[in-house]
């Protein structure tokens, strides 16, 4: 009988343990913290923008996991007629919902909503010559997922301050120089410290004469993002003062893409419906 009791105790304890493991938790999303590599897979995206018929590749960083928002370099999507965003949960369609041309930032909304993206943990850029990693992403074919990331070891060469990184684009108000070049496809992508924390965002162009070793500290990007407020239909407002730099961004796009027209860079232009002649004004 004692033997049965002992065995029974083990069985009940094991059973309760199994039950406890299987029981739903209050917040199973928060509890399921993915590994560092999975966080990068879910938090770094590849962006393909078609601008005046040219394909422009860049990277981006997920900033709102619940809202499926991505921040990237504005110059890489300015005037795009198509934006494709490759994420760890599929290729999605992008729409610009906020732009800051003076700071070369754009916020992209991804459609359709597929929950599961991850915003990277953030931190301060370490002082001195601590090793950092610039991460970019490029869409690849099936089975090539592991090969789509570009990782470039870099160190901070100079601390934040004003810096010109492209001959045409306005200088960045707060940028840091790195000791190595970053490929243009990694622009908009994160620069992380050894713990995988997001400390800066790469800002490089492929223009002749451009400095390809520039990044913006994440605290500066975050401060700018915090200015945004919800606007109509998921657009964001708060960056009106940035539009003084729109002409420079137009000039950059026109120099790189001969077919570019400034009208194609209008944000959220209304789309008139296809209707019977004479009823076109019905929605107004």
């Amino acid at each position: 009988m004692r033997r049965i009791g002992v065995i029974g105790s083990f069985i009940v304890a094991g059973s309760l343990g199994t039950w406890a493991l299987a029981a739903p938790r209050a917040d199973d999303r928060a509890a399921a913290q993915p590994s560092l590599s999975r966080q990068l897979d879910l938090g770094v995206v590849a962006i393909e923008a078609e601008i005046a018929g040219d394909l422009v590749r860049s990277s981006g960083t997920v900033i709102g996991a619940e809202d499926e928002l991505v921040v990237t370099s504005a110059h890489a999507v300015w005037g795009a007629s198509t934006i494709r965003v490759t994420t760890g949960i599929g290729v999605l369609h992008g729409r610009i919902v906020a732009r800051a041309p003076c700071d070369d930032l754009a916020v992209i909304d991804t459609q359709p909503r597929l929950p599961g993206l991850v915003a990277l943990r953030t931190g301060e850029a370490p002082a001195g010559d601590a090793l950092l990693t610039a991460i970019g992403r490029r869409r690849a074919g099936p089975g090539d997922v592991g090969e789509t990331f570009v990782t470039i070891p870099v160190r901070q060469a100079s601390a934040g301050g004003p810096a010109r990184f492209d001959p045409v684009l306005p200088p960045l108000a707060d940028a840091m120089r790195l000791d190595a070049s970053i490929v243009p496809e990694a622009t908009g992508g994160p620069i992380v410290d050894r713990a995988g924390r997001l400390v800066a965002m790469a800002q490089v162009t492929d223009s002749p004469g451009a400095a390809r070793n520039t990044a913006v500290p994440w605290r500066t990007v975050r401060r700018r993002l915090d200015e945004l407020r919800s606007g109509p239909q998921r657009l964001f407002v708060g960056w009106r003062s940035q539009y003084r730099c729109a002409s420079a961004m137009n000039a950059y796009a026109a120099a790189g893409h001969p077919g570019f027209l400034p009208g194609s860079a209008r944000l959220n232009a209304p789309v008139p419906a296809t209707r019977l002649p004479g009823t076109e004004e019905l929605d107004e």
Binding site: I4, G14, T18, P24, T82, T86, Q111, R113, R234
Partner: protein, 315 residues
């Protein structure tokens, strides 16, 4: 005290039952509610449709569709190649169709020819969602602000793009019209599928509309941004009453015989809304990151792209 042999056997059986019962629950259901079963399907399943007894799931990272026999849902029945990064799937005209996000194409798959590539139909624009009806297959084009029609006989895009609004995404066919959700400007456009024209005013709906369904003489729109469901008369195209608040982030819809199922893609709740009811009723909860829902073969099927699962929710 000495227990008789039958009593001892009974105790052991009871203890074993205590052990085995939760283990069985773990095997069949590691979810929040009873009556659910999570199946691992593909690498990134982002959408699901049920046709007869077959469940079709798109797997974006594999560039393929996989099927499950609803009667034996523990195994993948067949695989079909598609275009690059399929996101959405629809069934109709004897075929299954995928909207392929990465190459701006639609793939038409013949269910009778598994393990083969379907017919790839270039759209000339983004392919966001696809719907199929007697007048053709329809594809929404996102940033272009248009939908395009595919002739299901010639498998070609026909006619000019139809401008519907800002960033059209979800599509549904019903009540002799194509209903297009313009996620960019928060409206729904009603398209005459024979004339290729938008009919009447575009109907304002809630914030960040994500899905549309036509059932019970009503067009239902899931507004993910403000947690509401907008009802539109399928006959007049006018809103019916105030939007129904369901809370959370309603991101996907599916109609059963007598009600509408709403998937809250933030909290994982599945809600039921009867056609004449003013409030939705919570019926289940799916853990993880549920993205899309379909109904058929006596169950609801919910895909989770991040975890690579399809959850069967018994009817």
């Amino acid at each position: 005290m000495t227990l008789s042999r039958p009593v001892r056997v009974g105790l052991v059986v009871l203890l074993l039952a205590v052990v085995v019962a939760p283990a069985a629950v773990v095997l069949l259901d590691d979810n929040a509610d009873a009556g659910t079963q999570a199946l691992r399907v593909g690498r990134v399943p982002s959408d699901v449709v049920v046709d007869g007894n077959t469940v079709w799931v798109v797997s974006g990272r594999d560039d393929r569709i996989v099927t499950i026999d609803a009667g034996r849902p523990d195994t993948v029945a067949a695989r079909y190649e598609t275009g690059a990064a399929p996101l959405r799937v629809a069934a109709g005209s004897g075929s299954v169709w995928t909207a392929n996000a990465a190459d701006g194409s639609v793939t038409r798959v013949d269910p009778l020819v598994p393990d083969a590539g379907g017919r790839r139909i270039p759209i000339g624009s983004d392919a966001v969602d696809v719907a199929v009806g007697p007048d053709g297959a329809w594809v929404s084009n996102g940033l272009a602000g248009t939908v395009r029609r595919i002739d299901t006989v010639s498998n070609r895009v026909v006619g000019n793009p139809i401008r519907t609004g800002n960033f059209p995404t979800a599509l549904a066919l019903g009540a002799n019209h194509l209903w297009v959700v313009n996620s960019g400007d928060g409206t729904v456009a009603r398209v005459d599928p024979r004339e290729n024209l938008v009919v009447g005013r575009r109907i304002p709906v809630g914030r960040d509309p994500q899905d549309v369904a036509v059932a019970f003489g009503t067009v239902w729109v899931a507004n993910r941004g403000d947690g509401t469901i907008t009802r539109i008369s399928a006959v007049t195209g006018r809103p019916i009453g105030e939007p129904i608040r369901v809370g959370g982030a309603p991101g996907a819809l599916a109609a059963t015989r007598d009600s509408l199922l709403i998937l809250d893609t933030r909290e994982g709740h599945v809600l039921e809304l009867r056609p004449d009811a003013a409030r939705a009723r919570r019926v289940s909860r799916v853990p993880g990151f549920p993205a899309s829902i379909a109904v058929g073969a006596g169950a609801a099927w919910i895909v989770d792209a991040r975890n690579g699962t399809v959850t069967r929710l018994a009817g």
